[in-house]
Subunit: 134 residues, 2 copies
DNA sequence: GTACAGATTCCGGTTACTGGAAGGTCAAGA
DNA sequence: TCTTGACCTTCCAGTAACCGGAATCTGTAC
């Protein structure tokens, strides 16, 4: 099948599939007589794998590792689990960071009248810092 | 003062300060006889503003707007509050997304023995999709 | 044959920096 | 005054993960 069909079946855009081939994440596809990329079911399976892994927040580099482990019948599941746990940690760190931002912004927004007048605690905080910065 | 001092006092790296000047987020700094950038206390205040705004997750474009509002004595606080609320929404969306990823990863990791054997539910899920994908 | 959808490659752009090379300036110490 | 090392400058390309668009070719239905 052509790249359009592979895209449809995998859920990844054609551009992304070409990009993955370019960076060597997936092998170069076979070609038709006319020069079109030609994919089969196994190719689509890999593309789906990548879509799911990316969707879980694994970086392209990590996807490369995951694919390698997937292809390795001798792999130790410990290696896979380590990648997943690392991802979880990163995600948790990010969540904490985002929650802190939200708290500050929420606090500032709650104290802002949000009317036509110029006085604004949000700008004041940005300009002079709040109690957590003194 | 030189860029190094401005960097120290603002908390932004010299490279970032130069970058902000390049993209016009801050005005071009005055220069010493020797060609070094020269900053004063007000410049540092603006840099601090930017550091805090970036730290709250505002994009460079949003920082541009915030600075504009800050400089505008006639601003309406409503405009500032709108930016903050927008940021809060974006952050909340991101948190929800991250929590979903974490849940899936946590579930998969919990079911993975993480030993020397090759069987791994994480890879299986990536390869074939889980119940939430059928 | 015609027309349109889909494919190709190439190139530059997105966002927010940031490292490094090559070379100049400054200030303290000898 | 000279030396040395820290700091500064500009320029350029890279990071990560795509993705839009231009120019051109291919394939299929009518």
């Amino acid at each position: 099948m052509n790249i359009g069909s592979a895209a449809e079946q995998s859920g990844l855009p054609p551009k992304t599939i070409r990009y993955y081939e370019e960076i060597g994440l997936i092998p170069a596809a076979g070609r038709t007589q006319g020069g079109y990329r030609d994919y089969d079911g196994t190719d689509v399976e890999i593309l789906r794998f990548l879509r799911r892994a990316r969707g879980l927040g694994f970086s392209v580099a990590e996807c490369r590792e995951l694919l390698s482990l997937y292809r390795d019948r001798e792999r130790a599941s410990a290696d896979v689990k380590a990648l997943a746990l690392q991802r979880i940690e990163d995600i948790e760190r990010k969540i904490v960071e985002l929650e802190s931002m939200r708290r500050t912004l929420r606090h500032l927004a709650d104290h802002c009248r949000g009317d036509e007048r110029p006085n604004c605690p949000i700008l004041d905080d940005l300009a002079f810092g709040g109690t957590n910065e003194s």
